[in-house]
C-alpha cells in the first residue's frame, strides 16, 4: 500500500469514526430528551400529591398522600424524587416532617448511607448531601468519616451535612477538616453557625490552636452566633493573638457581641501600640457596638494620622446618636481645615443623605 492509499484509508476511517460518534451523540441526546419528557410527564401526574403532602398541616391530613406516595411504582417515584429531595431544604415545620417521613419510607436514608462508600465521588457527595438534608443524628458518624474523603466535593458535602444534622460532637471534626485547606473557611464557618451554641466548647478550645486559620474561624463564629458568655476569651484573643488577622476578626466579633467588657477592650485596641489593621477594625467595631461611651475615644481618633482609622471613627460616630453627632459637628466647626474636620463632615453628610436630606453643613474648602 503506497502513501496515497494510506492517506485515503485514514481519511475514510476517520470519516466513519466521525459519523459513528455523531450518531452516538445524537442518539444519546434523543434518548435523554425522551427520558426527560417521560419523567416530566410522570412527575406532573404525582406532583399535586407531593404538594398536598408538603402543604398539608401535618397529622391525619398528610396520611393519605403519604401512603399513596410511599406506595408509588419505583419508575414513577424516580421521576418525582429529585423534587422531593430538593424541597427538603426549602420548607420547615410540619411540611419538612412529612417529607422526611416519606423519604424514609422510600428508603432514602438507607440508600444514601450505602452510597457513602461508593466508588463514584459524585455518588458519595450526593449521599452526604441527602443525609444532611434528612438531618438524622445517626448520620453524624459516617459523615465525620467522609471529612477525610480524597475528593474535595465529598468533604464539602460532608461538612455541610454535619452542620445540618446538628450533632454537638461534630464541631471538633468540622474544625479539624480545615487542616491544610482541605475544606474552605466559609463552609466550615457556615456549618459551625448551623450547630449554634452546641459548637461553643469546641470553638473556645480552638482559640488556642496552633493554626491561625482555625483560630480565625472560631473567633468569627463566636461573634456571629452571639456568644456573649465567651466575650472574655475573645478579649484575650484581641489583646494577644500572634496573628493580626485573628485579632482583626476578634475586634469585629466583640463589636457584634456588644457587652461592656467588649467596649473597654475595643477602646484599648484603638491605641497606637496596636497593629494598624486592628486599630482600623476596632474603630469600626465601636460603631457596631453602639455605646455612647465610645464617643470621646472616637472623636480623638478623627485626628489620627492613619486615614482608615480616622475614617472609620467618623463613620462609627455617625451611628452613635445625638452626642456623637454633636461631637462630629463640633469637630467640623473647631478644627476647620484639618483632615479631622473633613472626616467628620463626610460622616455627617452621609448621615444626612441616608436620612433623605441634603447635607446641613457646607462642604469644607479644598486643601
Amino acid at each position: 500500500m503506497n502513501t496515497a492509499q494510506l492517506v485515503s484509508l485514514s481519511i475514510a476511517v476517520l470519516a466513519v469514526a466521525v459519523v459513528l460518534l455523531g450518531l452516538v451523540i445524537v442518539t444519546g441526546r434523543a434518548l435523554n430528551r425522551q427520558r426527560e419528557r417521560r419523567d416530566a410527564r410522570l412527575s406532573a401526574d404525582v406532583r399535586p400529591l407531593l404538594m398536598e403532602l408538603i402543604g398539608g398541616d401535618g397529622g391525619d391530613e398528610i396520611s393519605e398522600p403519604l401512603l399513596l406516595l410511599a406506595a408509588l411504582d419505583e419508575r414513577v417515584w424516580r421521576a418525582v424524587e429529585p423534587s422531593a429531595i430538593s424541597m427538603l431544604g426549602k420548607v420547615s415545620g410540619n411540611a419538612r416532617v412529612a417529607l422526611v417521613r416519606l423519604l424514609e419510607q422510600r428508603g432514602l436514608a438507607r440508600t444514601a448511607s450505602r452510597d457513602l462508600s461508593g466508588l463514584s465521588a459524585v455518588r458519595r457527595a450526593v449521599a452526604a448531601h441527602v443525609l444532611g438534608l434528612l438531618g438524622h443524628a445517626e448520620a453524624a458518624f459516617p459523615l465525620v468519616r467522609m471529612l477525610s474523603d480524597r475528593n474535595p466535593e465529598v468533604r464539602a458535602a460532608a461538612v455541610r451535612g454535619l452542620g445540618q444534622v446538628g450533632a454537638a460532637g461534630a464541631a471538633g471534626p468540622i474544625i479539624s477538616s480545615m487542616t491544610g485547606g482541605r475544606v474552605p473557611f466559609q463552609l466550615v464557618a457556615q456549618a459551625l453557625i448551623r450547630l449554634g451554641p452546641k459548637a461553643r466548647p469546641a470553638l473556645v478550645e480552638t482559640l488556642s490552636d496552633g493554626d491561625p486559620a482555625k483560630r480565625a474561624v472560631a473567633v468569627e463564629v463566636l461573634g456571629l452566633t452571639g456568644a456573649v458568655e465567651n466575650a472574655r476569651a475573645l478579649v484575650d484573643v484581641l489583646a494577644g493573638d500572634s496573628s493580626a488577622d485573628v485579632r482583626v476578626r476578634a475586634a469585629r466579633a466583640l463589636g457584634r457581641l456588644g457587652t461592656p467588657v467588649c467596649l473597654d477592650a475595643l477602646i484599648h485596641a484603638t491605641g497606637p501600640d496596636h497593629p494598624h489593621a486592628v486599630r482600623v477594625e476596632a474603630a469600626s467595631a465601636l460603631g457596631d457596638l453602639g455605646s455612647p461611651r465610645a464617643v470621646p475615644t472616637l472623636q480623638q481618633l478623627l485626628a489620627d494620622s492613619h486615614y482608615h482609622v480616622a475614617h472609620n471613627a467618623a463613620r462609627s460616630l455617625a451611628r452613635l446618636g445625638k452626642p456623637a453627632t454633636a461631637a462630629l459637628t463640633e469637630t467640623v466647626a473647631e478644627r476647620a481645615g484639618t483632615p479631622a474636620a473633613s472626616h467628620a463632615w463626610e460622616a455627617l453628610a452621609i448621615q444626612d443623605l441616608q436620612a433623605g436630606r441634603l447635607p446641613r453643613l457646607p462642604a469644607p474648602a479644598a486643601r
Partner: protein, 124 residues
C-alpha cells in the same frame, strides 16, 4: 378571600405556595420573574403581592420599590420571601416598602398565616 400575585423563580416553591394559598381559599396568579410580576400587578389588580427577593433580571426588592413608587400600586401589601436571614437584608426589604418578610426555609402554614394577617392589617 383575596387575589394573590406570587413571583417566585423556583418552580417547586412556586407550586407549593400556589397549593397552600388556593387551599386556604385565595386565587393565585403566579409568575417566575420580577418583570412579569410588575406587569401583572398593574393588569390584574391583586390584593396582595408575594415576592421572592432573588429572581433573575429584576429582584423582589426592585419590584417592591417600583410598586411603591407608582401611585396606582403604592398601597399594595407586599410580603418578601427571602433566603437571607441577615438583618441587613431584611432591613433593605422593609426600607424598600415591604410590609412583612418570610425567611426560607419556611413553613407553608406560617406563609398562609402571614398572608392572612397582612391582609387583615391592611383591610382594617
Amino acid at each position: 378571600m383575596a387575589t394573590v400575585l406570587v413571583a417566585e423563580d423556583d418552580a417547586d416553591i412556586r407550586d407549593l405556595i400556589i397549593f397552600k394559598l388556593e387551599q386556604t381559599g385565595h386565587a393565585v396568579i403566579a409568575v417566575g420573574d420580577g418583570l412579569s410580576a410588575l406587569k401583572l400587578a398593574h393588569e390584574q389588580s391583586p390584593e396582595i403581592v408575594l415576592l421572592d427577593v432573588m429572581m433573575p433580571g429584576m429582584s423582589g426588592i426592585d419590584v417592591c420599590r417600583a410598586l411603591r413608587q407608582d401611585p396606582e400600586t403604592a398601597g399594595l401589601p407586599i410580603i418578601l420571601l427571602t433566603a437571607r436571614a441577615q438583618e441587613s437584608d431584611v432591613e433593605t426589604g422593609l426600607t424598600a416598602g415591604a410590609d412583612d418578610y418570610i425567611v426560607k426555609p419556611f413553613s407553608p402554614r406560617v406563609l398562609a398565616d402571614r398572608v392572612h394577617s397582612v391582609l387583615a392589617r391592611t383591610r382594617a
